[in-house]
Symmetry: C2
Subunit: 479 residues, 2 copies
């Protein structure tokens, strides 16, 4: 189990902001509100998380591309629901040098309308389909809500967005399923527990037939949307008149989907496994997997340092990313603090007694429990411990979240749980928008939507109108 989590749970916002800057992940003091700097250590974590995501996408036939940042207002306006939702939160470029532009450009809030004009050029026949593209870019929203580092930015510096084109509705539906599987696998690999819900009609992506979203639970009991998958139907293909020739020579509009994960996907790992000592990184995404710290003893400095170097060499051959911390100006205690804050999964200490016995002292970051190992077994022991720790991180995070999902069949109970920020509340629902809206008002929380991750049949009555429930609906305080 994780160690001390007082600040983590009681003052999550402050904990997160501090850990980001103190661990060298993101500096949020950039002179524009809602913009931050990915610092070197944070950038490495980001690189590893994105590599995991790229791997999953490449392996399923997605091709990486890079589309322009700027979208002409005329293109953004081509799909009416889309522009209506986004125009009020776009940043607008109006001048090039000293000259006003003839058409304003939006900084992409998402890229459907940047990609559509190109799909129109690229797709001619059924042989060009399916076409599965993605890109990792920055997107912009002029948020009016309070911004928060990574969680709510005006420049979302990291946005992986996939855009796929298909010949039929059925194929687009299959693609939605594939996207859900990819995202599940992604979050599973990072040990981030989630629930998957179909958003209510009024909360779907602007221009989509429907939206399915991944939500995680934060330490303060609020949920965070960490991934979305949209079936866009023919809304964009009709707006941009993107057609293909079918096998029997007819012209049909294509069917499209899009799905995205932002920097929140990185934040999620930092949040769910964290504690009052800092972040805890699953070995798979840790820029440094083992930190080696000598515990010097007068007169034995050199043999101790040598033993540390030997262990580092052995581990690098696994391969394993090692930091050999021989800094002379810090005490061992300072160094422990430094690596704990940064979430390095395994720490190896070698002191005079270890040296005598041919042992090393090992501390795993999640539990901070100590063990000793024979020095000669160090490589196999590191591999084994990394596996154990990965497993435990996943299990503990899942357990933590499960304990905070409540099945409830009274409005009062739902209200009570949400008022004390207990977590996610599931209630029976008749499925009518009207009752959904009423429910949100009554419990002062948001409908995450109906479960997409269970097949369970629901018994019971809608908490609002009392009619027979057709589904469960999840309700939570949401970021």
């Amino acid at each position: 189990m994780p160690v001390k989590r007082q600040k983590w749970s009681k003052d999550f916002g402050e904990w997160f902001r501090e850990v980001l800057i103190n661990a060298g992940i993101m500096d949020y003091r950039y002179p524009i509100k809602g913009s931050g700097v990915w610092m070197p250590y944070g950038f490495k974590i980001r690189r590893n998380v994105l590599q995991t995501l790229r791997y999953l996408l490449d392996a399923t036939g997605h091709q990486e591309t890079l589309f322009p940042l700027l979208i002409p207002e005329t293109a953004l306006a081509q799909e009416s629901a889309h522009v209506k939702s986004f125009e009020g939160e776009c940043f607008w470029v109006t001048h090039g040098g000293f000259e006003p532009l003839k058409v304003r450009y939006a900084l992409r809030p998402t890229s459907e309308t940047a990609i559509a004009p190109m799909l129109k050029l690229w797709i001619r026949s059924h042989a060009d389909l399916p076409l599965k593209l993605y890109q990792v870019v920055n997107v912009f929203r002029h948020e009016t809500k309070a911004t928060r580092p990574i969680l709510r930015m005006r420049e979302v510096a990291t946005f992986k967005e996939a855009h796929t084109s298909h010949a039929t509705f059925e194929e687009a539906e299959e693609q939605v399923k594939e996207a859900l599987e990819i995202y599940k696998r992604f979050f599973d690999l990072l040990g981030v527990p989630y629930c998957v819900s179909r958003r209510p009609e009024w909360d779907k992506f602007a221009g989509a037939l429907y939206t399915i979203a991944f939500d995680m639970l934060c330490p303060d009991g609020k949920t965070l949307q960490i991934g979305t998958v949209h079936n866009l139907g023919q809304n964009f293909s009709k707006a941009f008149d993107i057609t293909y020739e079918t096998k029997d020579g007819r012209q049909e509009h294509i069917w499209t989907t899009s799905y995205g994960i932002s920097g929140r996907g990185i934040a999620a790992v930092l949040i769910v496994h964290g504690d009052d000592h800092g972040i805890v990184l699953p070995p798979i995404i840790a820029p440094i997997q083992v930190a080696i710290v000598p515990v010097p003893y007068k007169g034995k400095e050199e043999p101790i340092n040598k033993a540390c170097r030997d262990v580092a060499c052995k581990l690098e051959e696994i391969p394993c990313k090692v930091a050999l911390d021989l800094r002379g100006d810090l005490t061992p205690g300072n160094k422990f603090y430094y690596w704990e804050l940064r979430g390095v999964p395994i720490r190896i200490e070698i002191g005079p007694r270890d040296l005598e016995k041919g042992e090393v002292t090992v501390v795993r970051r999640d539990t901070l429990k100590k063990k000793t190992w024979k020095m000669k077994d160090v490589t196999s022991a590191v591999q084994k411990l990394a596996e154990e720790m990965t497993f435990d991180l996943v299990r503990n995070a899942s357990k933590w979240m499960k304990e905070r999902v409540y099945r409830v069949d009274s409005l009062e109970e739902a209200k009570r749980l949400l008022a004390k920020k207990a977590g996610i509340v599931e209630v029976p629902w008749c499925g009518k928008d009207e009752c959904g809206h009423r429910l949100e008002e009554e419990v002062e929380a948001r409908l995450l939507g109906t479960p997409e991750d269970t097949e369970e049949k629901i018994e019971g009555k809608c908490l609002v109108c009392g009619e027979k429930a057709v589904n469960i609906v999840r309700v939570a305080l949401a970021y």
Copy 2:
């Protein structure tokens, strides 16, 4: 030697534009002038080129980061020479949603003024120095000249910019040398020949003490700037008041450098090795290193395909990136054309006769010459051929460029060579700005600057004033 290069040399602009779109590298038909789309195949080339560059930077202690896109006008304006040069070519964000912004934001034209405010927060003491950061981002220039795909964009989608901070002028000078070595090594690895010149005063980066630039020669005899290194002195540190505490407790302004390579670094490889069949990729950056094409014969399709599959399996173990082209709707001729256009270094064909003899037919992309190999030797032969080809590409490109650099000591000869776009002309120069400007007017070309890649002493007289020359100066038609 490269094969046919008629279109490549006579109609370079058209050749490049066509090859970019036909080979699936960049589509330039995006609805904003000067913006293009990196398509899947082009994106893979880009990824490999950037990986080479990242490798060289990481290995020399540079740390990757990511700074925001938007720069407040107030920050951009803090270094006076800098803002004067850039304000007229920035794109300006003036509105967030429906509201005008209080301070306009520039889309970064380069990031010195985005990074400076953070350096001020991060750097406290000599122990924080040197600090060597880099990022790979998009930058924006509202070009008024005619735009060209990759070569002159308004959205430069690929810009690797490094920014370093130092305690002394001497350390910054050393850093400039390291940067030059890194860039030389980078272009050498890509087989791109270049000359390195110190730009004249009037052509240095706005805010720099001096600028040293890498130029390559295009098929049309014009040069293209493909990399720049700037010693920024204390210009930015004084403008932003970035100081550090020295070992003896004084506060001093830091010394900074910056250096960048844009998408032109990728274009360079495509250009220098290209021919009328398409691009030719050095194996190190080729997304596909070997294309295997069966040449079917009635009744022998399956044994031929099987032999192709076997060869593919063997090669993938090297490891080597292989495309096994079993598409049924294309003739072998179509496939040859397809892979030649895309610059795949090695093509292996297997036909009925090859199969009988236990051989394969091999075609290297640069010369299009055929050979036969024993099937059992295929892995070692591929490795050897890839090495040979890499070597030949470098040698031929260097030879091609060297033949187009002229040492000249009369104004008329310089004029004549530049009028017929013969290449780069080197002339003796007294070093005075006045004569430099006159020279540019006389020969209707641009001064690239004085050589930084040779120590050679110059004899002779300035072609303009007739006084003793102190240096060579390079002159060329430049993009």
